[in-house]
Structure formats: C-alpha cells, structure tokens
Symmetry: C2
C-alpha cells in the first residue's frame, strides 16, 4: 500500500513489492497470481461465509433479513482493517482494473442473494403474481447490495471512521421497511384468517384490510389498534 501510494499503482513492480516485504519474487507468486490479487479484497472467502450465513438461517427468519445478515460479512471484512480498506478504496477509484474487479464481485453477491430470495419466496415474501418472483427477487437483492455499498462507500470516504455496522443496520431497516410493505402486499399482507391487520409505525398506523371482509369486523380491528395507541 505504501509503495502504491508513493510510486503509483501502475509504476510499482512485483519485484519492488517483494523487496519491500523482504521476500523473493518467487515467494510473492506462491501467494498471489498478480499485483492486483495481492491487494484485492478477499471476496472468494467472503462469498463462502455469506453463503454459509444463508444456509444456516433459522426457518422463521424473513429472507430479506437473512440476506442482510449475509452481506454483513462483506462489511465485516472491510471494517476489520480500516486503514487498508481506505487506502485500497482510493486506489480502486484510480485504477480501472481494480474498479472492474470490484464491480464483478458485487455482481456475484447479487446473484447469490437473488437465488436465495427466489428459493425462499413463500409465506414471507413474494410478488403478487408468482411469475414476477424472479424480477422482485433480483430487485430486492440489488436493493440490499446497493444499500450496503452506499454505507460502505460513505464510511470509506470518511476515512473509515464511525460505527459502520450500526450505520448498516440503519440502512437495512430502511430497505426492509420499503420492501417489507411492498413485497407480498397483495398475496400475503391481506390476511386470510382475519379481516384486517395493522402495523404500528409510531407516528402513523398502517392498516391493510380485505375489501371483501364484513365492514363491522374491519372497523372493530382498526378501532382496537388505534385505541391501544391513544
């Protein structure tokens, strides 16, 4: 990182890196295939850890929450070594090869999460029409990854200062609220056994009522929820 920062990425040779690390050129190439690989984040291992999080998810967990926990593995990797992450981020913005490699990794997480969401669209989350599930899965996965990258980028630009995991949880809460009401609003949030359900959002109370339910039952459900608040 020091060499890249002072000499520039392109101008730094593997020989110089090996010399600075006090190892032979051959030793460098036993560990890394290229200069790029030596500083690139370890997305291969992180992808495996993220997948393990998905596979070990409790059955009752909302798949969107599972995916959020999955991508947290990426944030943890960056947060474990803030100085390296910040220096590498600066380099990534300047070196097209690194930027392209980074973009390709993002696509790998998105594919993993899209597949997971699609396989777990059931009572928790889905489109109104099952034919739209692949679309909604991809959009939701992309939303989680975009939110993660937004928080990560902000943290890197701020020099790696602050509690990035707490910021990430806040971002996920926003995504979750957006998609939590949207996904399955027609097929699921319309309750099958009761005429209406209510969700308390603090300042406001959101009610989803079946339009074919008896009016007095719907009104009783809403009134109860509102009374509980006032």
């Amino acid at each position: 990182m020091e060499l890249f920062a002072t000499k520039g990425y392109e101008a730094t040779t593997v020989d110089e890196i090996a010399a600075a690390a006090g190892v032979a050129r051959r030793t460098f190439f036993r560990h890394f295939r290229s200069k790029e690989e030596a500083i690139f984040p370890d997305h291969d291992d992180t992808l495996i850890r993220a997948e393990a999080v998905l596979n070990a998810a409790p059955a009752h967990e909302h798949p969107l929450d599972t995916v959020c926990r999955g991508i947290k593995e990426v944030m943890k990797m960056y947060a474990a070594r803030p100085e390296i992450s910040v220096a590498r981020y600066k380099l990534t913005r300047e070196v097209p090869t690194l930027r392209e490699a980074e973009i390709a990794s993002v696509a790998r997480y998105e594919r993993l999460f899209t597949r997971y969401l699609l396989g777990h669209f059931d009572e928790h989350a889905h489109a109104d029409d099952a034919n739209d599930d692949p679309l909604l899965a991809e959009v939701a996965a992309s939303a989680v990854v975009t939110a993660h990258n937004h928080v990560l980028r902000r943290w890197l630009r701020a020099g790696g200062q602050g509690d990035v995991e707490a910021q990430l949880d806040h971002a996920f809460a926003i995504v979750r609220r957006t998609f939590g009401t949207g996904i399955g609003a027609g097929r699921e949030s319309a309750p099958r056994t009761s005429p209406a359900t209510t969700v308390d959002h603090g300042e406001v109370l959101v009610t989803v009522a079946r339009t074919d339910a008896p009016l007095d039952e719907v009104m009783r459900t809403i009134e109860q929820a509102l009374r509980a608040r006032t």
Copy 2:
C-alpha cells in the same frame, strides 16, 4: 456481427471488418476508435436522451415515474434492432471487455437517476429522515435499473421476441408499488390536513392514519373508503 459469430470476436480483425463492409481501414477508424466501439450500444446518445426526458418531466409527475420513463430510452434503443441486440448480447456474455463496458454504462444510468431522485425528493418521495435521502435515492435508482435490466435480459434470451415495452411497464408497476408505499411513509403519507388517507389496491384497502388524530375522525375516513368498495 456475422464475422464475430463465425470467426469469434477476438480473432476478427478491423481489416476484415472493413473489407466485409467494403470500406478502407482508414474509413473504419474515422467512425470508430476500436472494434469494440463498432458494436457497442450507443449509450452516450441514449444517456443524453434519458437526461432530456428527466429535464422535461412535468412538475406533478412522481420522480420514480420520471426515472422509469428515462430508462425506457435504453430499452427503445435495444428494441429498435432486435437481431443486432440479441447477437451482441451473446457476444457480450463471452467477451470480458464488452461485459465490463456494459457494466460501466449501467453505472452511469444509476448515477444519473440517483442524482435526479435526490434533487426531486420533496412532497412526492423521500426517506422518513432527510439524512437517509441519498441512500434511498440510490436504492430506488438501482431498483429501477435492475428491473429494466431484468426485463431486457429476459427479452434478449428469448431471442428478442414479444412486446418488451409492455413487459417493462409491468415491471415498473411492481417497483412503483413497492417503493410507492415505502418511500415517504412516515413523512408524507401521514396526512397533515386529514386524520387518515386510504389507498385502494383492489383486493385490499391500505389505510395510513395519524395516531394523534381524533379516533372518530379516523374511523369515519376508513369507513367511508370501505363503504365505497362494498
């Protein structure tokens, strides 16, 4: 395209392309800087057209709808020449340089739309907390672009058959429904002048009521909306 399909992209030279087109090598380079540029979709012009759509948007239009109309310019470019688009898609999947260029273009649209949404977060759409607006703008822009790319990819894989613009409108309706309820649920959908508002979703009726509003007023609003349905 014929040369690329028969000889392979890498093996085809500019001289061969020029010869097949019946022009001199020099003429080729007056039009294109490289082999890649000769077949790459015209994202520069499309980006300008998409931006023009945003700039000419009527004041009353929801910014998410505006952005959906903006990215439709991309779909129109692909749909205008289905055979070329399908052949190029196959090539893009095989040639890393083309794939990377494609990914970089996607990022340009996302940035354009994120900026637009952020500049138009007002009474139409925004996060509950204004500090979250940049995050929500980026997530929403990415959702629109992901939905577009999903429909485009599906259409290209199906050989460019079917009414892709109608499929795109359907996808946008899903994104719009997801984000339409989520964005601004706290700051805006909680009505300032009335105790409650209702949105009719067909099978269900969604009500957002202020929890500090007089109970009887809230109940009257909901009852009226439900009576209008039954």
